[in-house]
Symmetry: C2
Subunit: 203 residues, 2 copies
Amino acid sequence: MRKGEETRVRILDVAEAAVLSKGFGGTSIDELIAETGITKSGFFYHFHDKNELAKALLERYIENDNRIYDEIFGRARELMDDPLQSFLLGLKLLSELLADLPNGHPGCLVAVICVHERAFDREIQEINREAALTWRRRFRGMFEEIMAVYEPRVDLDVDQLADMVSTVIEGGIVISKALREPTGLAEQILVFRSFVKMLFKPK
Amino acid sequence: MRKGEETRVRILDVAEAAVLSKGFGGTSIDELIAETGITKSGFFYHFHDKNELAKALLERYIENDNRIYDEIFGRARELMDDPLQSFLLGLKLLSELLADLPNGHPGCLVAVICVHERAFDREIQEINREAALTWRRRFRGMFEEIMAVYEPRVDLDVDQLADMVSTVIEGGIVISKALREPTGLAEQILVFRSFVKMLFKPK
DNA sequence: CCGAAAACTGTACTGCCGGTACAGGAGGGA
DNA sequence: TCCCTCCTGTACCGGCAGTACAGTTTTCGG
């Protein structure tokens, strides 16, 4: 890795932690450069303004997020042949991963952007939208595979069902932060898992 | 209403809309006083700093939120004698109310505070926590009534089940904002409603 | 209708922050 | 050697939160 890339990554690491705990407006560039050990000029060499930082941060976050889902549901798919069992195992693994974080989920950047909505330009909102659509596609694919084998007890729209996964995760993050109960998110995922389990019966 | 109270409410109205669309950091006092038609001194006469504004905003939001839930689930309770049917009707009414908002849900202040977490003092975080606990108590009460009459097909923790309502609402707000699909939240509530319907069978 | 309190206005200032501008320097690779 | 990447240093601008405080108008009870 070139030295410039290294510095960039260090800035992004510091910025991500700060933004997730204080929001974008609450994170000052002065603070970031102090913690990174860089000068203001150095910062603006890497990111020409705060919006560019936001964009880089969001893109990196989404990439990482997708990698984690790939790993978890990929592993679940290897261990279980049945699509329903595999999905249920994936949710279990995800819940365990989140339960092991001592301070709970650090927060989702997609949600941060949603909350600050009008403070960012169209491009960032588009990246955010694409991230949510990627989640939808991922889980819709899984539910379609499940529905090829199992009959749902209730007729539900596949997209809406797929969005429910993201909904529970995002909502779980918010609620467990509000309650200051770090395990809340993992528990909510398991409640949702019970619902999914209940929804499908063999064809 | 005294004149001072009137001005205070006007400031809060303007501030709430601004904060929900741009976040706290993105909302400047100068902007608020311009839109309210008041001077800076006038603003600081009512709120001694931005934190006090946040507190007043949050308290008012929560109060209003609870009033809406009281109305909706109160009406549902009057129309249906059975606790499950009443709860399901409540969710339906809530979903319809939200589907009628042309731009979707304006955003939840509780979530805004969660995202900005470290930017606010302990007191505000405590108010936020109390709001989430109030939601939990409200829905737990309903589920307990339901469980007195119906047998759940799966054994679920009542608190976790109650939190699922808040989770779906908060998550639904985030996801429908990210997707820029205003009806998303209403749909997610209906998906959750299907799950609840499926969960209980007569004793 | 008077007086006091409430509800402001006006002005001037501080310090932080985002951002700009630009000159210059260290270090490494071709 | 020279250029390019990756910075540092300095100086500055305008916006914003917040302070201070003196003065003015509005309201409302007695």
